[in-house]
């Protein structure tokens, strides 16, 4: 049983209410930070904790905070990215819906560290009912003196506002989010300048994910060094994984990053195994943008080592034989699923979500969707597979923001690892309309490379 730092109180009855949250140790980190620490000391603890951004990129949070420009007389802003839209990812929703005060508490501490007196939560428009939950928590925090002027007599003022988006995956990209928060289309900005220098309304801004900011609470309560003791290597602390697809127990799990992928999928504490007694075929371990892996490469690395649920192990082997931790959106495919069809739905998603600014992404995502649809519906040609490969190569790295890469990677990984299945759709077009390719050899043991390689 791993340690829980974020969800340890999630099942306390009525934890959504201020009184219950407070009775269970809530807002201690605000007391500690505002009464006994300087803003820089708070940032220092976050640095020591080794916390890495939980939105997908995994950038060290303390370092991001220390990059924030602090020119005299210019406001600085903290913006929480609650635009959770990466397919497979629904962990931030869980935090906000069930323990909203944890995010508010983390935001007050982070705002203090950054000197933000006006902080924002940008939440995806579809999470409409959660806006009310957050606004209620903010109102309760304000009534109890945790927000407003001169909080706890520290001289620090802070207020938090919630802004709803309106349906755009791209607004999870931090500069698109800022554009949207300014009332514009969600077109990502060219960087540099980075938000740390020129962000919201051209002022220095830090944009952090909901889970990242929530993790600041246990870091301040227990100290950065204590937090860093959990986990392994540069994967410190706990991580929320939202597990979905063909598993017995889909849901949000908090793990410390030492358990194996196999344990996560099969143990009753987590996913409980594959649903309906079927076998594991493939998995996208970190949200739809990261490479899909066949069962054999998912459970063990190409070196034959057990794969662990952390940043380093999931990416072991690079894109040739590994994947990424990403946002922690863990999508499991059983033996009866079709990788071509699944990849097609992802390509359609990225075509729908491309903002249209950069032509490789705007044109390329639509092209990939059409080719994948042809392959899936039995109208594909053998050359289509090479063409798909070529298109994704021409999108990757050639766009302003990472949406282009995010659209290219799932297609590339599907072809890389499941080329047989794509070819079968071409050579057995009629049959592919009535049955799926199945598990094939994707769960077979891999030959282990010699240790010297």
């Amino acid at each position: 049983m791993g340690r829980k730092l974020l969800l340890d109180k999630a099942h306390v009855e009525n934890i959504r209410q201020y009184d219950v949250y407070r009775q269970n140790g809530g807002y201690r980190s605000v007391e500690k930070a505002l009464k006994s620490m300087s803003p820089d000391a708070v940032t220092e603890e976050v640095k020591k904790s080794g916390l890495r951004g939980r939105g997908g990129a995994g950038f060290p949070t303390g370092m991001k905070w220390s990059f924030l420009a602090k020119p005299e007389g210019v406001p600085r802003y903290l913006v929480v990215n609650a635009d959770e839209s990466e397919p497979g990812t629904f962990k931030d929703r869980y935090l906000m819906e069930f323990i909203p005060h944890l995010l508010i508490e983390g935001m007050i501490v982070a705002s203090f560290a950054l000197g933000s007196t006006r902080s924002y939560i940008y939440i995806r428009g579809e999470y409409a009912w959660i806006v009310g939950i957050l606004e209620q928590a903010i109102a309760e925090a304000r009534q109890n003196g945790w927000l407003g002027k001169n909080i706890l007599g520290s001289g620090f003022d802070c207020d938090i506002y919630v802004q709803r988006g309106a349906g755009a995956y791209i607004c999870g990209e931090e500069t698109a989010l800022l554009e949207s928060l300014e009332g514009k289309r969600g077109n990502p900005r060219i960087k540099p300048p980075f938000p740390a220098v020129k962000g919201l309304w051209d002022c220095p801004t830090v944009v952090n994910n909901v889970e990242t900011i929530s993790a600041v609470v246990p870091i301040i309560n227990e100290g950065g060094d204590e937090y860093a003791k959990i986990g392994v290597g540069r994967s410190t602390g706990t991580k929320l994984i939202s597990a979905c697809g063909n598993i017995k127990k889909p849901g949000v799990y908090e793990i410390d990053m030492t358990i194996s992928v196999e344990e996560f999928i099969y143990s009753d504490e987590y996913c409980g195994g594959i649903a309906n007694g079927k076998r594991l075929k493939a998995c996208i371990p970190g949200g739809s943008s990261v490479p899909i892996l066949p069962a054999n490469l998912l459970l063990k690395t190409a070196k034959g080592e057990k794969r662990i649920m952390n940043y380093e192990s999931l990416s072991d082997g690079g894109f040739a034989t590994g994947s990424m931790m990403g946002s922690g959106g863990f999508i499991v495919l059983d033996e009866d699923q079709c990788v071509v069809r699944h990849t097609y739905t992802l390509a359609r998603f990225y075509r729908h979500e491309s903002c249209g600014q950069c032509s490789p992404c705007r044109e390329g995502t639509g092209w990939m969707e059409k080719i994948l649809w042809n392959l899936e519906s039995g109208k594909g040609k053998s050359s289509d597979i090479d063409l798909l490969w070529d298109i994704q190569r021409k999108i990757e790295g050639n766009t302003i923001c990472p949406l282009g890469d995010a659209a290219a990677w799932p297609v590339a990984a599907a072809i890389r690892h499941f080329r047989d299945e794509f070819e079968w759709h071409v050579t057995n077009a009629a049959e592919s309309q009535t049955r799926n390719f199945g598990l094939a050899h994707y769960a077979n043991e891999l030959p282990v490379a010699p240790a010297s390689v």
Binding site: E126, H342, F349
Partner: protein, 166 residues
Amino acid sequence: MTTFSPEKLNEFQRLVSAYPEGKQKSALIPVLHLAQQEFGGWLSSDTMDYVASLLKLDPIEVYEVATFYSMFNLKPVGKYMFEVCQTGPCMLNGSDNIIAYIGQKLGIKPGETTADGMFTLKTVECLGACGYAPMMQLGKHYREHLTKEKVDAIIAECSQQAAKQN
């Protein structure tokens, strides 16, 4: 004439007050949500012009935003809009069958509205409920773990609610 009620004007003021002086353009998306909810579930050009005048923006600034975001409807929709997710994780759990079933039951294709103006069927991309698939958004809330029986119950629930209101 498109205008907010005094109560909605208060709500409008509250939305604008979340931003510093002179940054009222930031309230555009929240105000468009309010307008859409208030004026029949969609944004006509009259509605958008009204929002522009409230926020002191050029109408084009409103149009370009309204056309970018998928939650803003630019033509009339049914009283109840079933927004069914069709992305990967939902597909793995049978969303294709759910979409087909709703379509068959209501006699419409995705993107269409029933002749009586009651129901619209819309397919959408990932709504962040992957662990509770298949799912749809109905109004402000999510309906999750959909089955054919649940779909039947939801349609009946909407019809009853509408009958009560008439």
